[in-house]
């Protein structure tokens, strides 16, 4: 069992744990509801909504990778789009360099996307099939470069393809999207994002649609970008790749961020029962002779009428009475690691080591013995 150390001072909530820097892009208490259409819409005046995101806060730091991990439908892609400025918000704030971002259109929106670029999951879907690679890149350069003479366009598009290791660039410029492989095309979409010289890249499942053998190359390319100071949000359902690729991991379940902290810590000492379930469910060749069976047979809840209290409580093996009624607040676990789980309430005393809002002190308590994930790691 790895030793769980508790730091004596808590970092300020907005600061990067361990880095001390301020986040370049930040969501603070963001809530996003979508109206429900069709027969489930409810009566007029009582319109029902999909609670896609509720009270989510996440920071992206310069030169660092933050992973946002969750199942499909957990709201992770919606959060990325809210950060990209494509969706408005029901509540909460998005801060870019500490300044609130408001517009989802017009000139202010353009300024925002000049700094924050989004990369989508399906490389074939994210390119207009009728336009060549050169057209796509030139278009992005035209939008973000004040000076765009034809010479500038040519050298800039060449540079962009070089930056994503597509060489010789001339061979790729004249191609239509369907003439490239998925991996090559995803590199082009990174090149397109780089045309804006962004300070943040939001990558929504950037490698999920790619073959295994080329995923690593694309991830490495994204990691290279952070060397130049770009902050990266890596949205994924693959918790193992988040471990290798990110310095911070935030875990999302049913529209809420349930746990967040330094990547290695979240993987090796997962605090929230959902995180434990997620990690123990993921296939891992290093753990082939698994003896533990995952008992869970539940499903994620409906986001139109989410369960009261903690949204994971219907599936949680450790659920307590308060989990059914009250949504858990953030409980700090030290070193920037926190979890929204009543297990970590100060007076609860069972597992973990943290106190509610006051800095945690004293000796670390061992993890719960009935924690299946902790046993296998």
């Amino acid at each position: 069992m790895p030793d769980q150390r508790v730091s004596n001072q808590l970092p300020a909530p907005a600061a990067a744990p361990g880095s001390g820097g301020a986040p370049v892009l930040e969501a603070v208490g963001v809530t996003k509801h979508f109206p429900v259409h069709g027969k489930d819409a409810g009566r007029l005046g009582h319109r029902r909504v999909v609670h896609a995101i509720d009270d989510a806060s996440i920071g992206i730091y310069p030169g660092k990778v933050t992973a946002l991990v969750g199942e499909s439908g957990s709201g992770k892609s919606t959060l990325a789009r809210v950060l990209a400025g494509l969706y408005g918000r029901t509540a909460g704030q998005v801060l870019l360099h500490g300044q609130p971002v408001t517009a989802t259109r017009g000139r202010a929106f353009r300024r925002h996307v000049g700094e924050v670029q989004l990369i989508l999951q399906d490389p074939y879907g994210s390119f207009n099939p009728m336009l060549r690679v050169s057209t796509h890149l030139q278009r992005a350069v035209r939008i973000h470069d004040a000076d765009h003479g034809s010479d500038v366009l040519r050298t800039r598009t060449g540079e962009l393809l070089e930056q994503v290791h597509l060489l010789p660039a001339g061979q790729f410029l004249d191609k239509f999207p369907h003439e490239l492989s998925g991996g090559q095309l995803q590199r082009v979409s990174i090149a397109r994002a780089l045309a804006a010289r962004p300070s943040v890249i939001l990558a929504d499942e950037p490698v999920s649609n790619l073959d295994v053998s080329i995923r690593l190359g694309v991830l490495n390319l994204l990691a290279e970008l952070t060397d130049t100071g770009v902050g990266l949000l890596y949205v994924t359902h693959d918790v193992a790749s988040a471990r290798y690729f990110a310095s911070e991991i935030a875990v999302m379940y049913a529209g809420r961020i349930v746990e967040s902290g330094p990547a290695e810590r979240v993987i090796t000492e997962p605090a929230h029962p959902y995180t434990r379930l997620l990690i123990s469910s993921a296939p891992d060749p290093a753990r082939r002779s698994r003896s533990d069976q995952v008992a869970d047979t539940g499903q994620p809840p409906s986001l139109i009428s989410p369960p009261a209290g903690c949204r994971f409580h219907p599936r949680c093996p450790l659920a307590m009475p308060e989990c059914r009624t009250d949504a858990p607040p953030v409980f700090e676990l030290g070193d920037g690691h926190w979890s929204r789980c009543w297990l970590f309430r100060a007076d609860h005393g069972t597992p973990g080591h943290a106190a509610g809002t006051s800095p945690a002190q004293g000796a670390p308590a061992p993890s719960t013995p009935d924690d299946p994930a902790a046993d296998s790691v």
Partner: protein, 694 residues
């Protein structure tokens, strides 16, 4: 986890085959060409006809109702006017009205449809309401009324009338298309790049609607020509202006059909029909070529191949034995003659020998190449490979679900029944095949939503399988079996009345497994059964499968690109690359000591969750283009260990006498297709001595 960037530089293939101006070539498609010739003829006739023909269509002569002659090529009317001159003049009016109204209608529908579809909110609603109102106004009476108000304004009046009454349908179709396009990823990507709304509409939406716009345009041209002819025929337009419609009007009022003056009314009617046909041909032809994906020319080749294989499969249906291939039909004698190793013969359930599958006939792509595999009873065989490596094709061949243009070119697949009888899967006749499939071997596909029938309940679908294969079973017995099966895969039996859309993805996949198990098959082929599922649900489904395997003892062929999943659940792992098996080993051997450089790269691509982080190496380069495989070993262009021999010959899949790594090995020995493990003089005998699994 950084790999040196010089090896992952992409090498773009020389593109000798790429059509530079696909749309120009599109015009050369026979259908389009034919249509263009006809329409072009009438356009030229409209422009140059009056100059060449010096007869005035209105001049009254004494040569009344003359049949066609050299002087009057198409005869004369009752007033002695030249029909030819009238047809030529009519062509001008028809073309003017047709193309004029076509262009105006299309422009107006684009404007309303595109803006109405892309913008949201009140303006969109208003535009939609506006076009819907016009859609429900009966257009013919409106045309008649409007035409009555503008009788003497010539073609312009008619063009305006037709445009006003005809734009709504096109606008509606374009609006629907725009609504679906604006949700596409590339529109979102363009927005995220910061592109403004007008340019997104112009560059992203509009080009993708070219097919519909063309169809709308050609349709409205035909419609306008017909409407003009109808108005004129009814005498509602200026009947002293010559058009095909007014010709018909005068022929009708003068009783041309009574006087059998066919030359008076046939030519204008024929002209209208011909122009319509020509435009329709252009429309059909352009449909095929307007999409750049269809431009590559593959589609035509494929269609040809499909036709050919259809003929071949028809031939093979008529004769019970396979007629299409050069392979001798496999009898029991051939199979027993095979030198089977003692341990495998008893429990062997499926034996694939040198299987080769190609797609297409003219330039065949070899999707599965020389694949040999043995599956034992109760074994879980995992097949991993990237997309296009041939793993799904193999699964379909084994279940005989391979459809043309895919064809088994050579090789054999021998299934051994529980009683020890050998069946050649490829040679099964239809009746045998129906029995074989699902009773002996069943398949579970990736997308359960597509594989389940959306309008039947789960219970009914499982019941169908039982009804078809177990006609003797009574209704109650079947109902019990359905409940039993659902319980088996962890679905509450009272969900038997649920429709597929009422179930979650994981439940649907379980239902598919229940259907696969319905007849107690010996083998279940699972083609990416959990790829669409979330990890937690995937874990539930996998545990269900493995639990059932332990209880029921069926063999599983599990196909996925997720090697880490495969390592957990397989007994044996086969790695496919570019249609060949490059490594075949037990799961443990494979994980501990992968032999093939591709396998090593794959294993080095997977991040792990437990234990210390290791260095990820990855595989350099990009997956191969199956149409242009490298010479020698297909992996050689991406291989860090490639040497000259790899370009010269294709390494065979051979058993390892002495694996490169030391350590105790349980039998059977791993097999690998790589020259790194083969001495220059390696002979097949040496390989067999090495203890190949065959």
């Amino acid at each position: 986890m950084i790999i040196s960037s010089d090896i992952e530089v992409a090498v773009a293939e020389p593109d000798e085959s790429r059509p530079r101006h696909g749309w120009v070539r599109g015009l050369l498609v026979p259908k389009v060409l034919f249509g263009l010739v006809i329409v072009g003829f009438f356009i030229l006739l409209a422009i140059f006809g009056p100059m060449l023909l010096h007869t005035d269509p209105g001049t009254v002569t004494s040569a009344r109702l003359q049949p066609p002659s050299l002087k009057h090529l198409l005869g004369t009317t009752q007033q002695g006017q030249d029909v030819m001159a009238q047809v030529v003049d009519g062509a001008r009016v028809s073309m003017e009205v047709g193309f004029g109204a076509g262009i105006l209608t299309t422009l107006w529908s684009i404007l309303v449809g595109l803006t109405g579809g892309y913008l949201s909110g009140t303006s969109s609603e208003l535009l939609s309401m506006f076009s819907n109102v016009f859609l429900v106004i009966p257009s013919l009476p409106l045309v008649v009324i409007l035409a009555a108000f503008l009788p003497n304004s010539g073609s312009t009046g008619i063009i305006i009338v037709i445009t006003v009454t005809g734009w709504a349908w096109g606008a509606r179709v374009l609006r629907a298309q725009t609504l679906s396009l604006r949700r596409r990823d590339f529109v979102e990507a363009a927005r995220a790049t910061g592109e403004n709304t007008f340019k997104i509409m112009l560059y992203d939406i509009l080009p993708n609607e070219v097919a519909i716009i063309t169809a709308t345009f050609l349709g409205s041209v035909v419609g306008a020509i017909l409407t003009e002819a109808s108005i004129a025929f009814l005498g509602l337009s200026n009947v002293t202006q010559w058009s095909w419609g007014t010709m018909l009007y005068w022929a009708q009022v003068s009783g041309a059909e009574l006087s059998r003056a066919w030359w008076w009314f046939v030519p204008p009617g024929l002209c209208i029909a011909l122009v319509g046909t020509g435009l329709a041909f252009i429309n059909f032809g352009l449909d095929d070529v307007i999409n750049p994906r269809l431009r590559a020319g593959i589609s035509r080749r494929r269609r040809f191949a499909r036709a050919r294989s259809l003929v071949e499969s028809a031939v093979s249906l008529m004769r019970p034995k396979r007629a299409a291939t050069a392979v001798p039909a496999v009898g029991t004698a051939t199979v027993t003659a095979e030198p089977a190793s003692p341990d495998s013969s008893a429990s062997r359930v499926l034996d694939i020998r040198k299987l080769r599958i190609e797609y297409g006939a003219t330039a065949p792509v070899r999707a599965v190449n020389d694949v040999s595999l043995t599956l034992h009873r109760g074994e879980v065989l995992g097949i991993a490979g990237e997309s296009g490596s041939g793993k799904s094709t193999l699964a379909r061949a084994v279940t005989r679900l391979l459809r043309p243009p895919g064809m088994i070119v050579s090789g054999e697949m021998v299934y051994t029944t529980r009683s020890g009888r050998d069946l050649d899967i490829a040679a099964l006749a239809d009746a045998e095949l129906r029995k074989f499939r699902w009773e002996e071997i069943s398949i579970v596909f990736q997308s359960a939503m597509n594989a389940l029938n959306p309008i039947l309940t789960l219970g009914a679908q499982i019941d169908d399988v039982l009804k078809a294969h177990r006609p003797a079973m009574r209704r109650v017995q079947r109902a019990n079996r359905v409940r039993e099966l659902l319980e088996l895969v962890g679905i509450s039996p009272d969900r038997a009345g649920a429709y597929p859309h009422e179930l979650s993805g994981g439940m649907r996949q379980r239902a598919m497994i229940a259907m696969g198990l319905a007849l107690d098959p010996e083998i279940i082929v699972m083609d990416e059964p959990t790829t669409a599922l979330d990890v937690v649900i995937q874990r539930q489904v996998i545990e269900t499968i493995m639990g059932l395997r332990d209880r029921l003892g069926f063999a599983v062929i599990f196909i996925t690109h997720d090697l880490s999943l495969l390592l957990e659940l397989s007994d044996t792992i086969a790695i496919m690359y570019a249609g060949r098996i490059v490594e075949l080993a037990s799961s443990d051997q494979f994980y501990e000591h992968p032999l093939h450089p591709y396998s090593q790269g794959l294993l080095g691509s997977f991040p792990t969750l437990s234990g210390p982080k290791r260095t990820l190496t990855g595989v350099p380069g990009y997956p191969p283009d199956m149409r242009k495989l490298a010479a020698g070993c297909s992996f050689q262009p991406r291989c860090p260990h490639a040497f000259s021999r790899c370009e010269e010959a294709v390494p065979a899949l051979l058993g390892q006498v002495e694996p490169a790594v030391a350590g105790h090995r349980p039998d059977p020995a791993p097999e690998v297709a790589c020259f790194l493990y083969q001495a220059n003089d390696a002979s097949p005998e040496g390989a067999v001595a090495g203890g190949g699994r065959a």
